[in-house]
């Protein structure tokens, strides 16, 4: 916990910088608004203002800087505006009993969470099975491992629209499955690499000991390799779930999805409501934080009960 104080200070500094940046970012919007309300600003028309730098505008119109902090459609909203929007579209909706309405981020977060968890399950399963195969058969190690690495240098986003079109063509309804495939694609790699390392973690002397016990290959796997790999597994699961969430959001972004946090970002962009984009972004960040923290807790509890030193 000795890091709490520095983290808070740095967060405070970031918030301060953010507030400072709002003024130059929003001055044009504030002046446009003031002009429409009938105030006299210098230069007078939006077109003339395009020619002038934001700093000049701020010096010439000091009275209107404050208005930039409370615009409806700011280029850069203040943290408080984002917080209010987030509160309104989550807790506010829940209080009115509409937590699952289409305008509530709880509903969209739930859609994203579901796809993330399916992708995470699928990716983890593929990763673990692949790791078991790689550890046991040299031919798998030699032929699969290079392609696993290459698969991650292929930008999955290029494939995302393809995956959705193909799965629609072969008759898969909805977007849940293609989204899960995309997130599994990003998620399996850290699990695979971590598990290969983990399953190979037992030392030669430990394996020899099991041989002197006349243990079969299966027993050696279950009683030595699997337990030894757990610390590695949890570490890579934490990376994996974050990657799965990124995959889901990428799967929602470019493809015209209508529900999910990524779709909220997309819709916010199309309808010109920046506050909705920012709220969805923060909601995604919170979701990522919660998921990683949950896995971290699970890791601590499991490893403690299995007697690993922390």
């Amino acid at each position: 916990m000795r890091n709490t104080w520095p983290v808070l200070v740095v967060l405070g500094a970031i918030a301060a910088l953010w507030y400072l940046a709002v003024a130059p970012m929003n001055i044009r919007g504030a002046l446009d608004q003031a002009e429409r309300a009938g105030a006299v600003v210098a230069p007078e028309t939006p077109k003339a203002r395009q020619e002038v730098s934001v700093w000049r505008l701020m010096i010439d119109n000091p009275d209107h800087i404050a208005a930039g902090y409370s615009l409806d459609r700011p280029r850069l909203p203040t943290p408080v505006q984002v917080g209010e929007e987030l509160w309104k579209s989550t807790v506010g909706m829940a209080l009115r009993g509409r937590a699952m309405s289409k305008r509530s981020l709880i509903y969209h977060g739930w859609v994203t969470l579901q796809a993330t968890l399916w992708g995470f399950l699928l990716g983890t399963a593929v990763g673990i099975l692949g790791a078991v195969a790689i550890v046991h058969w040299r031919v798998m190690d030699m032929s699969l491992m290079p392609w696993a690495i290459i698969s991650q240098t292929v930008p999955i986003v290029a494939l995302a629209p393809m995956i959705i079109v193909v799965s629609a063509q072969i008759g898969i309804e909805g977007r849940a499955i293609p989204k899960a495939i995309i997130s599994a694609y990003l998620c399996y790699f850290p699990v695979l690499v971590g598990m290969v390392k983990g399953l190979r973690a037992p030392t030669v002397s430990q394996i020899d000991l099991l041989k002197t016990y006349n243990a079969s290959a299966l027993q050696g796997f279950l009683k030595l390799r699997v337990p030894a790999s757990l610390p590695y597994l949890f570490t890579s699961l934490k990376v994996g779930i974050a990657a799965a969430l990124v995959g889901t959001i990428v799967g929602e972004l470019p493809t015209g999805a209508i529900s999910g946090l990524g779709a909220r970002i997309l819709i916010g962009d199309q309808f010109g409501t920046p506050l909705a984009i920012w709220a969805a972004l923060v909601a995604a960040a919170i979701l990522a934080g919660v998921l990683v923290t949950l896995l971290d807790l699970l890791q601590k509890i499991t490893l403690k009960r299995m007697g690993f030193r922390q």
Partner: protein, 281 residues
């Protein structure tokens, strides 16, 4: 059906050959280590071709690799234009700016242990966030051309690079730093001769992670608005107009660019960190 049967037979044969090679006594030699994965990749392509031809899959759903290759050859001009716009202008410039900025920031905050302790947890957290979501905001700030794509890439690569560099700079042990002290080395000398070289494996780890992120960022940002060329633009419009073979050619370019980019960074890593145990093997 003949094509499908041929593909399956090819697959079994290639698999048997690979298994035999892996079990043979030459399995550790260099040609075999390269040949086995290449044959595996070729097998996948043959299977794909066989399935598409054997089952008569419509080219609108999944074009055969041979067809994609044809499209690739025919439309190299388009592909080159898109490649220049997305990879060279968007991804590469953003990658350079983001990585250099993160590297310099890491060296700057490294002097204060307070800042390091404050920024490292935040950086770790941000590196795990779905930052791609910021793309529409940056596109509306910086316009449709490649500048906004580079901006997305800068934001995406900054934090993984920062975290890795800061961690790398902490890699030296007290013994080594004390040794530099006894040589009367100043801060700058210690940094250049001891700590930066020791940090290089971590720096390159960050650089490698950033290569993939850079391409993802540049392509996603194009889905939110771009000039009428660029890989992301071509993919999203190609899917809409059912010119799927061009989309696959574009994906092949993206895959090739990603792999070459990664390979170049890995090659540079081998040159710079030749002393590290993982490179000596």
């Amino acid at each position: 059906m003949n094509a499908l049967v041929f593909a399956l037979v090819f697959w079994l044969g290639a698999w048997a050959l690979n298994a035999a090679l892996a079990r043979s006594r030459w399995h550790a030699t260099r040609p075999v280590r390269i040949f086995v994965p290449v044959l595996f990749g070729v097998t996948l392509l043959v299977l794909w071709e066989g399935i598409v031809r054997g089952l008569d899959v419509s080219p609108v759903i999944l074009p055969a690799p041979s067809r994609v290759a044809q499209t690739f050859v025919v439309s190299t001009d388009t592909l080159w234009l898109d490649f220049r716009q997305t990879v060279l202008k968007g991804a590469l410039s953003g990658y350079l700016i983001g990585c250099i900025a993160a590297f310099l920031t890491a060296i700057a905050i490294d002097r204060s242990s307070f800042l390091t302790r404050g920024l490292l947890p935040i950086g770790n957290f941000v590196a795990a966030l779905p930052i791609v979501g910021i793309a529409p905001i940056l596109v509306s700030w910086f316009g449709f051309d490649w500048h906004s794509k580079a901006a997305v890439v800068v934001v995406m690569v900054f934090f993984p690079m920062l975290v890795n560099t800061v961690q790398g700079l902490r890699e030296t042990d007290p013994m080594q730093r004390d040794l530099m002290r006894t040589y009367a080395a100043g801060y700058l000398q210690t940094l250049v001769k001891l700590r930066l070289p020791a940090a290089m494996p971590f720096v390159f780890n960050g650089l490698k992670i950033a290569t993939t992120l850079a391409l993802i960022g540049a392509i996603v940002a194009e889905y939110f608005g771009s000039p009428i060329y660029g890989m992301g633009f071509r993919i999203s419009t190609g899917v809409g107009s059912l010119s799927i073979d061009l989309v696959w050619a574009e994906i092949a370019v993206a895959a090739l660019a990603g792999t070459v980019f990664y390979g170049l960074v890995a090659w540079a890593e081998r040159l710079v960190t030749f002393w590290h145990p993982s490179q000596r093997g």
